[in-house]
Symmetry: C2
Subunit: 431 residues, 2 copies
C-alpha cells in the first residue's frame, strides 16, 4: 500500500477500506507518512467527503492509536455526554451529579477550554482544592463508590487525533464534517462509556453555524457511535445566545450550584434535563422520557442532586465549605454594563460574549495561557426580555485586564430591537 | 498575508491575486511556507482549478524564482519550441538546424530524458565529442555566429518549479492542467525566446490522454505566453504511435540525419515542418504558412538544413566525421521481432515502445540512471501498414539488459487487426 495511491483514490472520489484508513492513521502517527501527504489527503477529503463507514473506520483507527479506558470493572451502564462547545455551557457540572444521584454511573474525563468556550476541568478547579488529576484506578474506584468522577484527560488518548487536528488547523481543513465527527468520536469511543449523548450546538456562537450542518454532524456521530456498539443520542441545541446567564469559571460553578438547588435558569435546566432523560432511559433507570424527566426535576428540587455534587467535590479534594458561599469565589471588582435604549433583546451574540470573558482572563487564547478563575460575565438579560434605558445588561467580574475590550464586545453583542423574539432551544433530537 | 487564508480562499473557489500568488511562491521557495501547507493548497487547486490569469501569475512567479536568460544581445527574433514529451520525438534535432539554415535564431536550452520519453541533450551526446555544457556567453556567441545552439539547461532556472514539482509528484497533484501549464511556461518564459511553438502530444503515449484535456492545456499555455508578451502557437499532435521509426539516442540522431537529408519519415517531417512554419512566420522569414512550408521543404531537400546540422555539431565539439556513418554509432547486437500474424497494424502503444527502449537502457527510470546511447528500437511498421506473418515488426538494438522485457513489451504494443486505420497526426492548431 502506498500513501500516494490512497490520496489519488480519495481525490477521485472512491471510498477507502478500513484497512486503508488504518494504514494511513497508523503510519501517520508513527511519522512514516509525512505531513505534506497527509494534508493533501485531508484537502481531498474536504472536497470528496467520507462515507459514514469511512468516518467510523477513521474514528476507530484514531481511538486505537492510544489508550482506551476500560470501565468494565464498574458494573452497569456507564454514561457520558459531549458538547461541541458553547458559551456558558456548564451542563456537565449539573448533569453528572444529577444523574449519579439517581443511580447512573457518570465516569467523565473532561478537557480544558480553548478559545471562546470554557472547559469543565477549568471550571471545577475554581472549587478550592478540587483535584482534576486522578489515576485511572482511583477514577474507577470513585465511580464505584459514589457513582461519579469528573477528572482531566489521563493517559494518551487518541494521539493520532491530536496530530491530525494540529495539521488540519494550519491547512484549512478543520471545517470538514466527517473529520470533525471522527475527531470527537475517536475520543468518546476511547472513554469507555456505554451510552453517550452528544449536545451539538448550532448558531453564531457555535462551530456549526447552520442547522443543516449541525444535523449532518450529529447524524454522522450517532452513526459512528452506533457502528462502534454504543447507545447514542444527539440533540441539537441553539447557541444563538449563551446558555444560562453566567460565563467564566467560578461564575459557572455558581450557576451550576443554583441549578442543582432547583433555582437554575430555564434554558440551562431544559438542556440538562433533556440530555439526562436520554441517559436515564439508556441506563434503564426510567421507563420513558417523561418518567425520566420527572425524576430529574425531582432530584433538582429535593436537594439530592446538590448533595451528590458536594459528594463529588469532597471526593476529589474540594473544600465544600467554600461552596456554601460561592459568591465569595468571584472577583470583587465589578462593572455594570447599562443599556442606552429601550426595547426587546433580539440577539445576544454568544461568540462575542465568549470572547469578552476570554479577554477578561476566563479563557485561553493559546494553550499556554493561564486562566483566571474568578472573572467573567453575568448576563442579566436573555433574548425576548424587555429592558429600559439604564437597565443593567450585564455585570463584568474583572481583575485588571481586558475590561475595555470586554465592555465593547458585550455592548455590541446585545442587540435591542422592537420585536419580541422567541427562539427554540432544543431544535432536534437524533436517536 | 497568511498562507492559511490563501489556502481557504482557493479552497472556497476564489481566484488569487498576483500579489497573493507571488507571496506563496516566494515564501515557499524560501522555505517559509512548509510543504504541508503547500500540498493542501495544491490539492485545493486540483479541485478549484485556476483562472488563466492565476496560472499566468504562477508561471511568472516561478520564472522569477531563478535565473532568466537574457538573449537581447542576439539581434532579431529568437525562436523556441517545446514538446510535452513523446516517444521517438527527435523534432528539435531537425527543426533547429532547419530553421537556422533559413535565417532564424534558434537558441535552445534542452533537458535530459526521464521515464519513457527521451531528452534532446541525451540524444545529442550520442554524437561523439558533442558538448552540451556551455556558458551563457558562449551560448549567445554561438547563436550570433551560426544561428543555432542547443545546450543543456544552465544556471538555476525556475527553482520554485523544481521544488513544487517534487511535492506534486508525491501528493497526487501532478494531473492539474493549470499547474502543468505554469510549470512548463515558467521554464519557457525563463529561456528568453520571443516566439514559441508548443507541441502538445495527445494519445496513450502522452501525458494528455484525451484531445479535450490537451486542448485545455494548449490554450492555457498559449494564453500564459501571450500575457507574458510572447508570440505563441500550440499544435496538438497525435502520440497514438511513436513519431518516426526510431527510438533511442543514437537511433534518433540517425533518423534526424536522414530527415535533414530529405529522407525522413512522413509523420516526423510533417510535425517538424508544421512547427517550423509558425516560427518562420513569427520570425518574419516567410509571408505565409504555405510560403514557409515551401522554404522548409526546400532546405531539407537541398542539403542546407543538413549542412547547418554539421555546423552545429562542429561548433559544439562534435566529431562530424562520425556522422558520415551514423550506423556505426548503433549497438552491434540486434534482435528482430517478427510478426506471428497477417493484417493491418491498427495500434502501436507508444508508451510501451518507450518503456521497451528504456528497459534496454536508452532511458532513465530514475534521475541517477546512466543512459546507454547506442541501444533502442527501430520500428519497421506504422499504423495502417499491411504485414504478413514472419515480417519484421521491429529491430532491437541491444547490449545485455532488458532484452526479454523489451521484446515482450513490443510484441504487446503492436496490434494487428483486419481494418485499415488512418489517424490524423496534426489534430489542432491553437494560435
Amino acid at each position: 500500500m502506498h500513501m500516494i495511491d490512497l490520496i489519488s483514490k480519495k481525490r477521485d472520489g472512491f471510498p477507502l477500506t478500513q484497512q486503508e484508513i488504518q494504514y494511513i492513521i497508523h503510519n501517520y502517527t508513527q511519522g512514516l507518512i509525512p505531513d505534506y501527504q497527509m494534508s493533501a489527503f485531508l484537502m481531498a477529503v474536504y472536497f470528496q467527503k467520507m462515507t459514514n463507514e469511512e468516518a467510523t473506520y477513521l474514528a476507530l483507527a484514531m481511538r486505537d492509536s492510544g489508550d482506551v479506558i476500560d470501565l468494565s470493572s464498574i458494573p452497569g451502564i456507564k454514561v457520558d455526554k459531549h458538547s461541541t462547545g458553547g458559551v456558558g455551557d456548564k451542563v456537565t457540572l449539573i448533569l453528572g451529579p444529577l444523574l449519579a444521584s439517581l443511580g447512573a454511573k457518570f465516569a467523565k474525563m473532561s478537557g480544558r477550554g480553548l478559545g471562546h468556550t470554557g472547559g469543565t476541568i477549568d471550571k471545577l478547579e475554581s472549587i478550592p482544592g478540587y483535584q482534576v488529576e486522578r489515576s485511572v484506578e482511583d477514577f474507577i474506584a470513585q465511580v464505584n463508590e459514589i457513582g461519579i468522577a469528573v477528572v482531566g484527560q489521563s493517559g494518551d488518548v487518541a494521539p493520532a487525533d491530536k496530530k491530525l487536528y494540529a495539521l488540519r488547523d494550519v491547512t484549512a481543513t478543520v471545517d470538514v464534517i466527517p473529520l470533525i465527527a471522527s475527531s470527537i468520536m475517536s475520543k468518546k469511543l476511547a472513554s469507555g462509556a456505554d451510552a453517550i449523548v452528544l449536545d451539538v450546538k448550532v448558531g453564531h456562537g457555535a462551530f456549526m453555524k447552520t442547522e443543516e450542518e449541525a444535523v449532518k454532524l450529529a447524524e454522522l456521530m450517532v452513526s459512528i457511535g452506533r457502528l462502534a456498539g454504543k447507545k447514542m443520542t444527539a440533540i441539537l441545541t441553539g447557541m444563538d445566545e449563551p446558555l444560562g446567564h453566567k460565563i467564566g469559571n467560578a461564575l459557572e460553578v455558581y450557576e451550576a450550584i443554583e441549578t442543582l438547588q432547583g433555582r437554575g435558569p430555564k434554558d440551562l435546566v431544559e438542556v440538562t434535563v433533556t440530555i439526562g432523560s436520554h441517559l436515564m432511559l439508556d441506563s434503564n433507570l426510567a421507563i420513558s422520557l417523561d418518567d425520566a424527566k420527572q425524576k430529574l426535576y425531582q432530584a433538582l428540587n429535593d436537594g439530592s442532586a446538590y448533595k451528590k455534587f458536594l459528594e463529588l467535590a469532597k471526593a476529589q479534594g474540594g473544600d465544600i465549605n467554600a461552596l456554601k458561599d460561592p459568591e465569595a469565589l468571584l472577583a470583587k471588582k465589578r462593572i455594570a454594563i447599562l443599556s442606552d435604549k429601550e426595547g426587546y433583546i433580539t440577539d445576544i451574540n454568544a461568540l462575542d460574549i465568549g470572547k469578552a470573558a476570554m479577554r477578561l482572563g476566563a479563557g485561553r487564547e493559546t494553550k499556554e495561557d493561564q486562566v483566571l478563575l474568578d472573572v467573567g460575565v453575568d448576563l442579566h438579560v436573555k433574548i425576548g426580555h424587555y429592558i429600559k434605558k439604564g437597565d443593567t445588561l450585564a455585570t463584568l467580574y474583572v481583575r485588571d485586564k481586558g475590561i475595555e475590550e470586554a465592555s465593547n464586545l458585550i455592548k455590541h453583542a446585545i442587540v435591542i430591537g422592537k420585536e419580541h423574539k422567541d427562539i427554540p432551544l432544543i431544535k432536534r433530537t437524533i436517536k
